[in-house]
Amino acid sequence: MKQLGSGVRAGGRFAAALVGAAMMASAAFVSAASAAELTVWCWDPNFNIPAMKDATERYTKAHPDTTFTIANITQDEINQKLQTQFLAGVTDGLPDIVLIQDDNIQRFLQSFPGSFVPLSDSIDMSKFAQYKVAAATHDGKSYSLPFDSGVAGLFYRTDYLEQAGYKPEDLQNISWAKLIEIGKDVLAKTGHPLVSMDYNGDDLIVLMMQSTGQWYLKDGKEPNIIGNPALKAALQTFQTMAKEGIIKSVSGWTDYTGSFTSGQVAAVPQGVWITGTIKSVPDQSGKWRVAPMPILEGVEGATHFTNNGGSSWYVLASSKHQDEAVDFLKTVWGGDVDFYQGILINQGAVGSLLAAREGAAYKESDPFFNGEPVWQNFSDWLAKVPTVDYGTFTPEARMAVRAQIPNIANGGDIDEALKAIDAQLRQQMQ
């Protein structure tokens, strides 16, 4: 009994020491906290990370107390970590600011309500491209600081097209049908396929469809597959391109980027964020130009303007420094026009802040693109991209479409494919 008693006392002393240590640690933590340390999660060391770094450097000049840690985490991993931790209700270790792709955000907003800080309370959302704001709006509040625009264009090799007898004027304001004709000539005369596509992806379909203001889902809720003229036309166009042999099929991102950096394909229809990758081969300088996206002829609402990918910044509700995080985004990402000139020149990042388009860099022409004012073009197109509601089930819809891509490429019936897409999407939406 006596022994036990001394044991308890010893335990007590130990516990007291522990509590003391904990108090000291938390005191240290509090003092560190007042000098806000903000953690940012994002992907792509050639694009998002340097852009964010530039932003934090600008902010810390005026706010030396705030420090930033930028972690390079893949998009898949970010989604996975957020999802697991939100579900478990454990928010320790989550960052203060996170980057999320636009067509993926609604599922977080809807399935984990209250996990993000509504930014429309403190930032004027009318300053940004509206289709970007719409993507992150839920229940009347907007949650994102719209960043990277997915506004798209048709990047093409002037040298290959010239060999096939085409001039840059021949690519202005054309239809996909016309582009297919050009592609056939390019293939016949140069041996290069027109474009490449990941057969495990649906980027091309997405680009064609959004240019008409249509989407896989109606109002973000109901499947819009059967009886969606834009989707049907997009799939038919893709099938024709595959049949003519002007699409090079690739697997995965490395293969995809390799197909144009190594000069195999003549054109890249893609979001503006691909610019950095295209420009990563300096000896192709002067060989590239950018044309507006071809139009999906015969479909109501068809335009030359579309979007693919693109992502935005979010502040987590679990952040201990929400105010600092919001202030940082508001000050730099939501107001610093000069900052956008820098990331445009260095990373080819076309932001979504409309005022940034007035900056000097946006008016510059780029020697890599034959002295064309590419940025001016992209920012003009940016304001004209039709808004669509990605809704909650876009990942499911895209998966269902991807499942049919090889089949369609091999000449499968489009109506059957649409039925299969619709069935799979409905099954997954349960």
Binding site: Q83, G89, F112, P406
Partner: protein, 296 residues
């Protein structure tokens, strides 16, 4: 009395010794298993879920994607496992031959694949089998093929790549089990057979295989479980594509949980499908092995 006290003390001490392990086991194994079972009766998205009774099981029946994943897994299972087991067995017998030179070198070479990182070898296979990869270039140079094979973008060929990859990775692993078992086979049996004039092939089928039956059963069950849990290779080489041609059950569970709008309840149900299939297949394999032993 003294004995009882000793017994009791031994019992208490015994429990005290295993308790930490039991607590950890309970916390990190039993609890998650029970929780996932409870989870499989929940419906809803993300953090908003509620008890759904048998709704998830009903959903299983109409899930075309699950059927697809199940079909793919079955194809991998029926093609890959027999190829691998036979190959491993033949290699083990060949490398067990004492007259063979550089045996150690060959054994190491064949075993090396299964100590390689799954991610590293998957990435390597992906680049080797890409349209402009080394495999196509070699085949083109040797005039085996006229146009590059779309290894990763065609549903049939992508399955071939996955089967090749897992065979490369796991054959050596199974071979080691057979080699170990072969060391325990009494050499006098083979000597007697040789004296009786039994040809080599008959020695292999009539002596080696029956002697190795327990090990073959063991490796088959391990491979069954491995195939049903196939994930890394598919995720890294084909992402389940093209057109879901290589989607496996594990990949499907991953997609349900992390790629799509999270439906944790339903993905738990699909996980339990794997558990049930593994249990059933293992049971069948045990039964087959047991019946044969009785018959002979």
């Amino acid at each position: 009395m003294a004995k009882t006290r000793l017994d009791r003390s031994e019992q208490i001490n015994g429990w005290a010794f295993v308790m930490p392990a039991l607590v950890l086991l309970g916390l990190f194994m039993i609890y998650p298993i029970i929780w996932s079972l409870w989870m499989s009766f929940q419906v809803g998205r993300g953090a908003n879920f509620s008890f759904g009774g048998l709704a998830n099981i009903q959903r299983l029946a109409n899930d075309a994607l699950l059927i697809k994943a199940l079909t793919n897994t079955t194809i991998f299972f029926f093609i890959q496992v027999p190829i691998m087991i036979v190959l491993a067995l033949l290699l083990a017998v060949a490398l067990n031959d004492p007259t063979l030179k550089f045996r150690g070198l060959f054994r190491t070479a064949l075993f090396l694949p299964c100590v390689t990182s799954l991610i590293a070898y998957s990435s390597l296979f992906k680049s080797m089998f890409s349209t402009d990869g080394i495999i196509n270039q070699a085949l083109l140079t040797l005039h085996v093929i006229g146009t590059p094979i779309p290894w990763l973008t065609d549903p049939f060929w992508s399955r071939v790549v996955i089967i090749t990859a897992i065979t490369w990775r796991w054959t050596g692993y199974n071979m080691i089990f057979y080699l170990a078992a072969l060391q325990n086979v009494d050499k006098s049996i083979y000597e007697a057979a040789r004296i009786d004039g039994i040809p080599a092939w008959a020695r292999f089928t009539r002596i080696t295989i029956p002697m190795l039956k327990p090990v073959i059963l063991f490796t088959t069950i391990l491979s069954t479980i491995g195939t049903l849990q196939l994930f890394d290779e598919v995720n890294n080489i084909t992402q389940g594509g093209p057109g879901n041609a290589t989607l496996t059950l594990s990949m499907y569970i991953y997609n349900l949980t992390f790629r799509m709008m999270p439906s944790f309840g339903y993905s738990a149900t699909v996980s339990w499908v794997i558990v049930v299939i593994v249990a059933v297949l293992s049971f069948i394999q045990f039964m087959i092995a047991r019946d044969r032993r009785r018959a002979t």
